[in-house]
Assembly symmetry: D2
Homo-oligomer: 375 residues x 4
Amino acid sequence: MRKLKVGIIGGGGPGAFFGRVHQRALSLDGTRELVAGALRSKPKDAMAAAAEWGIQGYPDYTAMLNAWKDGDIGLDYAVIATPNHMHFAPAMACIEAGLPVMCEKPMTLTVAESETLAKAAKRKKVPFVLAHTYTGHPMMMYARELVQSGAIGEIRKIESWYTQGWLASDLEKSGQKQASWRTDPKRTGLSNCGGDIGTHAFMAATWVSGLSVKRVSARLNAFVKGRVLDDDFNVLAELSNGGTALITATQIAIGYKNDNGFRMFGTKGSVEWHQEAAEQLLVRRGDHDETYWQGGGFYPKSVASYQRAPAGHHEDFLEALGNLHWTLERQIRQIHKEDTPAPFPHPGVDEGVAGMKFVRAAVASSKARGKWTKV
Amino acid sequence: MRKLKVGIIGGGGPGAFFGRVHQRALSLDGTRELVAGALRSKPKDAMAAAAEWGIQGYPDYTAMLNAWKDGDIGLDYAVIATPNHMHFAPAMACIEAGLPVMCEKPMTLTVAESETLAKAAKRKKVPFVLAHTYTGHPMMMYARELVQSGAIGEIRKIESWYTQGWLASDLEKSGQKQASWRTDPKRTGLSNCGGDIGTHAFMAATWVSGLSVKRVSARLNAFVKGRVLDDDFNVLAELSNGGTALITATQIAIGYKNDNGFRMFGTKGSVEWHQEAAEQLLVRRGDHDETYWQGGGFYPKSVASYQRAPAGHHEDFLEALGNLHWTLERQIRQIHKEDTPAPFPHPGVDEGVAGMKFVRAAVASSKARGKWTKV
Amino acid sequence: MRKLKVGIIGGGGPGAFFGRVHQRALSLDGTRELVAGALRSKPKDAMAAAAEWGIQGYPDYTAMLNAWKDGDIGLDYAVIATPNHMHFAPAMACIEAGLPVMCEKPMTLTVAESETLAKAAKRKKVPFVLAHTYTGHPMMMYARELVQSGAIGEIRKIESWYTQGWLASDLEKSGQKQASWRTDPKRTGLSNCGGDIGTHAFMAATWVSGLSVKRVSARLNAFVKGRVLDDDFNVLAELSNGGTALITATQIAIGYKNDNGFRMFGTKGSVEWHQEAAEQLLVRRGDHDETYWQGGGFYPKSVASYQRAPAGHHEDFLEALGNLHWTLERQIRQIHKEDTPAPFPHPGVDEGVAGMKFVRAAVASSKARGKWTKV
Amino acid sequence: MRKLKVGIIGGGGPGAFFGRVHQRALSLDGTRELVAGALRSKPKDAMAAAAEWGIQGYPDYTAMLNAWKDGDIGLDYAVIATPNHMHFAPAMACIEAGLPVMCEKPMTLTVAESETLAKAAKRKKVPFVLAHTYTGHPMMMYARELVQSGAIGEIRKIESWYTQGWLASDLEKSGQKQASWRTDPKRTGLSNCGGDIGTHAFMAATWVSGLSVKRVSARLNAFVKGRVLDDDFNVLAELSNGGTALITATQIAIGYKNDNGFRMFGTKGSVEWHQEAAEQLLVRRGDHDETYWQGGGFYPKSVASYQRAPAGHHEDFLEALGNLHWTLERQIRQIHKEDTPAPFPHPGVDEGVAGMKFVRAAVASSKARGKWTKV
């Protein structure tokens, strides 16, 4: 089986970390490899970073795309790992050129951009996967299958959260790169906390349940002095089936690393998942609880085809992201009629647009003192 | 040391359970004993129940109070274990007669009643403890001392919740007694879920932190068909120091028994407590977490004086309620100049009024589509 | 229903704690009360302690028994809460006098004493319950019913442990009372760690499974300098059905309070229980795990009759010990033809003898360098 | 930075899984790649498997080594992923040829083979890493640094275990490949359970603590009918510092997947680690417990240099194995004077020999009815 060739855009600066994370995640199956990159915004830096990574360097993404179009380099897809405000342009360029995309989330800086992007991707029929890493956890995929099969009945309520503490102080003033761009409206958009991690909580709630959010009532806080954008994000949401969701995220909870998870309460039972114990899914039946462990024989084929190791040999963060790359790989191989298992319905452009609209509505509602606002 | 004598009002019917729970909780130290009761609303039933319990029976609470005033029976305090709508009258009668009270929560049916009661108790200087059982857990008492000592800095955000599943179906239609009165506005007041368990979440948030709630934005749901009152209760709250609290309760989460707990995020650290693992308190310092186990040498004297067994020998639900009785006992002994350790500041009439106002505001806000409403 | 009257022998000295624990445990149901005691070994101290406790004092247990025989005081049973070397004499005296006994464990100082006691109790048909507190936990009782019903098939292997850290340093040199007598061969017998907590691990293994131990291979250690008796106890055991048990206890595991529990592996599944999360029982079925929570509707009647509060309202250490008192109460009421649910088969004299023989064999095997030794 | 080129021996048959696991683990950093393999024992099968994997195939490992020696292919090291009885010959061939080795454990079939191998590797100064995957978990590496720095004082006792259930029935009779060779003395050696997973428990105990095992007393069981080798493995061990270790492994614990972990009790504190929650390390200080999470700022440089993602983004099984490949990579780069952080002291030939001797002594002791046997 041939290896897919991947080019990366962004993610190579000092203090960046997600470029390397994508490299690892895409490399781990041995069926994809990173071969090229426009790793930084300054051409010179970009070339130097590529040399250090041992891949073919380009001064910018246009140059990389041109080299591909000219047949100078083979590429099967591109990874976009730049800050939020630089997702749209390269993603559009790839799509227009017909190169499939793995794009970091949130999808774009504005709702309008995301809609343009979605339309283009559909028109051009270019595979596009949004890097909502946690949806790649097999037990989250299994939760989706379980919930959407009706195993817990009609959903009444969802609690979905993402709790972190790394921005509890004004880290951005120290020049820390991750903190700087995330708290800067120009580079991050309308919302810091909501856009960065509230979207994960939103995605878990909607992608797992199959429901959408119709209206929201929100309260966003900027607890750390001097911060313009929210570092705390609280949303009550009305679901498409009339249920209620509580979607919260915070960056000021000292000591919490990545406490991301959800609970869904249906008419027949409940499910609960925690990213920090990602290998387990808890299903509550009423008189007892059941714990399912990653890799069990109970997997439907759709999930089983993503299994790399036997039960008990946990796969975690990189493997979850690897699964999104695997889904994109499968979409690409399908197009080329190569042998491949079916791709799982991981988030793409539609989910990206929904996430952008959700954040926009939450920001508007908070400004209107919690007024219920249409998404 | 003499044993305190206790009379009970209500709690003795078939299907009731809290009467027996109070009997056990007050008996367990061997320093208090239940001697009398007006256990049921019908005089005949009340007498029969008392005979079965092996205590002195009275046809109603007035008769019991009269017997006490006449010196026919010795009583040190009364326990009020009736449904919500029957708290006010007997509580007022006890207070007017000068008999200390252990009252079930929520304190009364209406805010007005609660204010009348609070005024009376203060005027007459009668000890009054509100049975917010969970505040009797030593680790919750320790959390209060810790947080109010400034150990986690200024509080920015509180999450406080109470998640149950026992009312996920229309149990009240089966005639189950606990379900029937709780879902009936005449006996339970403005709110079922909020009044019954939302008040616990409210009490944890405010009593532990020392903060009060100024304004709320709420969404209450009645998920089960035919139900008039809420079975799901979601409140965003503005705290007196400008912080935000998320206070939630639900009765439709199938499989969840008593998942009650809180997390508080301060400028220096975080604390987290779960009623279902009540013997532990988690303190997050940033680079590592610390777990404190009930009974440790780290207790301040105020908490240590409530310890019954050495570390590792867990005390739980009955002991927590027993601690509230112990607090009332200590208040009573102080008045009588008997030897006693100092009582812990467990919830009393002021907290009772605050709880009533909180529920009222939440109900009003929900009716006004989440409008921020003053408490 | 009349209250049973209880007298206590020992447990009243400064630094003692189990006397008070028994008082609380027996008081908590309101159907038994502590009325008399010979609380300390010196008559004067005994009388003073009783006055402090507010019960009828006696200078020694003989005086208390005589008062009872003379009709001066009503007693239904006696609690023996003295150190190990003073169990036998008062227990024999009670039995000979026909007074039922709740006796602390290990039952006696020597195997010979325990056999004499067992014979006497059987001959006189006097109810006798051994205070193996943890067997009173409802979920341990439920585990016994489940395992003995064949739910996990034939048992192949048992792991049973009790891990503590309180004797990791030479606490006995500080004069701490609990440490002093437990590490003194004259007062504690052949084994400190094995006798004090290894017997709990032994009891869990045998009483829950219904199997007995035939042979042992042991290694006992005295890690703390100057200590004569073991503070660490490791036993491999051959079970009566050919299975293997690993029974371990230690007192030198710093930071571990009461990490007592067991795992049983059968031909059809496994069960697991932890005293520090006593309200849950884990049953492993192969492809998923099931967690049962105390108070569930799945209880057989034998366990349900010991339930005090609804599911989710945890009962713990004192309630577990209270259940043993409840069992003794039920045995006594049965004899007197009083109305009572059936007593659960909690440990009595036979289990007491088995525990003594187990410790003796372990000590002998360890001295013989792990030689497999018949129990 | 150039990528290291890797060849694999074995691991490519149907039903094999560890070949692919190694491929993923070595690929994930993008600094190593699998380029060649002699994947199966039959030449034809080997060539077909290589084609399927998309790597250069060889009919057997000799051919692969010859191609390398002849300069037909570049190789930096070889992975040996065959069953136990086929470790020795290819490992020796690699070493004699000067090609570094990543070898599956247990190192060889017999102690004699392992000693020969160790001598050869030392004589030829060829880097050799033993694939004790769990030692690659960052928190286990951190535990080693912590314990060997004296943070918990002198170690008195170690409990180290590996509990699985997958061989609770006679799976080998179904033809399942993993079960077949592991229960076959010819292919697996003296011990199944001890060799396969008991060695992991042994390695955790010794490699983390820095202590060795001097003598053992063991009981091995073959619970499943018809099985010649052990499926249950219990060892009491005397440590080099006089302490005691309890090293156990079982394959008959239904429902347990990979419950591997250890607890170490020292004179100043305790540490505890569980493979199924590999990202946390528990340190008990006495009055409270501390939990450290993978990726924290508390890492010493030796561990920090292996970090791939920020705190809270868990790395698990594949990353742990990847860390062993990283260690081998660092050893190789050091030899070639390439820029590299220092390799962590992961298990190599000495640890391999120690593991073999430990299993041999345990088997001998069990046959001698638990006689304490020198390792």
